[in-house]
């Protein structure tokens, strides 16, 4: 238990110690909010879909959680390169504990990052639909974070160095974000895109957040919750398995 705590604390400490990283990773979500939120706002309104910013912000919050969580998982590669991974793997603790500590730490950091984006969005004119659901939206944020930290862990356990980084970015992270319904409504999509968005786990995270923050759920909160929970279990099991196989 203490091992899980100390490794969680490590991730959180590292996060607060790199303000440049915190600010740096705010750039993209803010740009999206500005350019898309204001840029497409009037078109969206004219199409009879309501306020685009209200629609978009939950998607952008999910995006920053996706990025931060995935990279927290992938940080294992850095730990491998800088040697700290060896220190943890040679200690008399189980790899499962190590992974859980890391994942919880990574997920916490990702939720913090998402919360900062949400906070800033209020200044852009986003209004939280129902404050009594805020706690539930935090649950959804944490679920998205846990899911993608586990995915990051699984990927990092398979990679030796950062060579494949660009590949993951362009062929995994970006598609997950763009094809999740974070930017557009799920109705009336071409068949192929419809199928892809339905199998994309982020879709359910975005929907859960949209439902709790803006009251604009398109699926249903129960479905979102169940789908996310199942995928979290599956990906964590996979991550734990692959992590247990790492050789140094």
């Amino acid at each position: 238990m203490k091992t899980i705590y100390i490794l969680w604390l490590r991730q959180v400490k590292k996060y607060f110690r790199s303000p440049s990283r915190i600010i740096g990773s705010l750039g993209q979500p803010l740009l999206f909010m500005l350019a898309l939120g204001y840029g497409f706002g009037s078109v969206f309104q004219q199409a009879g879909q309501g306020n685009y910013l209200e629609f978009l912000v939950p998607g952008i919050v999910a995006m920053s959680i996706l990025f931060t969580a995935l990279f927290s998982g992938i940080e294992i590669i850095w730990d491998r390169q800088f040697g700290f991974l060896k220190e943890t793997l040679v200690a008399p603790v189980s790899r499962f504990e190590i992974m859980i500590g890391r994942s919880l730490g990574g997920a916490t950091v990702a939720v913090l990052q998402g919360a900062i984006v949400l906070l800033i969005s209020l200044f852009f004119g986003f209004t939280i639909h129902n404050y009594s659901l805020l706690l539930l939206s935090l649950v959804f944020m944490f679920m998205v974070a846990l899911l993608f930290t586990a995915l990051g862990t699984a990927i990092a356990s398979l990679l030796e160095d950062m060579q494949g980084f660009q590949l993951i970015m362009n062929f995994l992270v970006m598609p997950i974000f763009f094809l999740s319904g974070a930017l557009f409504p799920l109705q009336g999509l071409p068949k192929a895109i419809d199928v892809i968005t339905r199998i994309n786990p982020l879709t359910y995270g975005v929907d859960g957040l949209r439902g709790t923050l803006a009251g604009l759920a398109q699926i249903s909160l129960t479905t979102d919750f169940i789908v996310l929970a199942v995928i979290i279990v599956v990906l964590n099991a996979l991550g734990a398995y692959l992590f247990s196989k790492i050789q140094i």
Binding site: I6, R10, K14, T88
Partner: protein, 260 residues
């Protein structure tokens, strides 16, 4: 004296390369044991097997009475290790690195604080305890790693080329600490190095490994007598030849590590 490390007919194959070939040796409790050999001779591979990081292909190992394959946790409690490459978290402070280690090894809080102070004072880093490791020099990092390796009071400390790339002053300093620890605490020291004069000065017992085999074991004096030379360095060259070894051999073998 009792043996604290016993290795019998140890073999490690990496695909078609035999990195460690039927190695047998013992290390007595409380001694300083130097494990020498040219690049790619099998030193690091052997240390990895002794420290639970690699599974042997065949053979027997006992570390502090435990089998590193079947009794991983007991084995891991028995030793501390300073790796050839750094293994600190550079974003954390010296004290935080110690703390994580202590928690993972189950050192109780109060004791952890006491020992952290004691050890950081020993390696003269107590004043710098709240500095992030990335601001440390190479020598300071090494000293911190040694302090960390001793935090859980291991019976044995493994040092894989602990003084590589350090200036003579720092090397001298580090060896004095290690020597003191060995004398005062009775910790068994198992180290590898390329600096023969270090081995000659501090080691009670020397073993030389080459092409995966132990070619000789004894005191530095005995090795010199056997080879009719005046220094361990000359003895080493007489035993292992003067040809330059391929640096890449170990690295090449390492590529196949994941597949074993």
């Amino acid at each position: 004296m009792e043996n604290i490390i016993e290795v019998k007919n140890l073999v490690k194959d990496f695909k078609d390369v035999r990195a460690v070939d039927n190695v047998t040796f013992n290390v007595r409790q409380g001694e300083i044991f130097a494990f020498l050999g040219p690049n790619g001779a099998g030193k690091t591979t052997t240390i990895k097997m002794l420290t639970t990081l690699l599974r042997p292909t065949s053979g027997e190992i006992k570390v502090n009475g435990f089998n590193p394959v079947t009794e991983q946790d007991d084995t891991r409690h028995s030793f501390g290790i300073v790796f050839q490459d750094p293994s600190l978290d550079e974003d954390l402070t010296a004290k935080e690195n110690m703390e994580i280690h202590g928690v993972m090894y189950g050192v109780p809080n109060k004791l952890l604080n006491e020992r952290t102070r004691q050890l950081l004072e020993l390696v003269e880093l107590w004043e710098k305890r709240n500095t992030q490791v990335k601001d440390f020099s190479g020598g300071m990092k090494r000293r911190l790693e040694i302090a960390r390796g001793l935090l859980h009071h291991p019976k044995i400390i493994f040092l894989d080329e602990p003084t590589l790339g350090l200036d003579p002053q720092t090397r001298n300093h580090i060896w004095n600490y290690i020597h003191d620890l060995n004398e005062k605490e009775g910790i068994t020291v198992f180290f590898s190095t390329h600096y023969m004069e270090e081995a000659e000065r501090v080691a009670d017992e020397v073993a030389i490994i080459d092409h995966g085999k132990i070619i000789i074991q004894g005191t530095a004096k005995e090795l010199e007598e056997k080879t009719k030379t005046n220094s361990l360095e000359d003895a080493f060259l007489a035993l292992t030849g003067k040809a330059i070894r391929e640096e890449g051999k170990e690295g090449w073998a390492a590529k196949f590590r994941g597949r074993n």
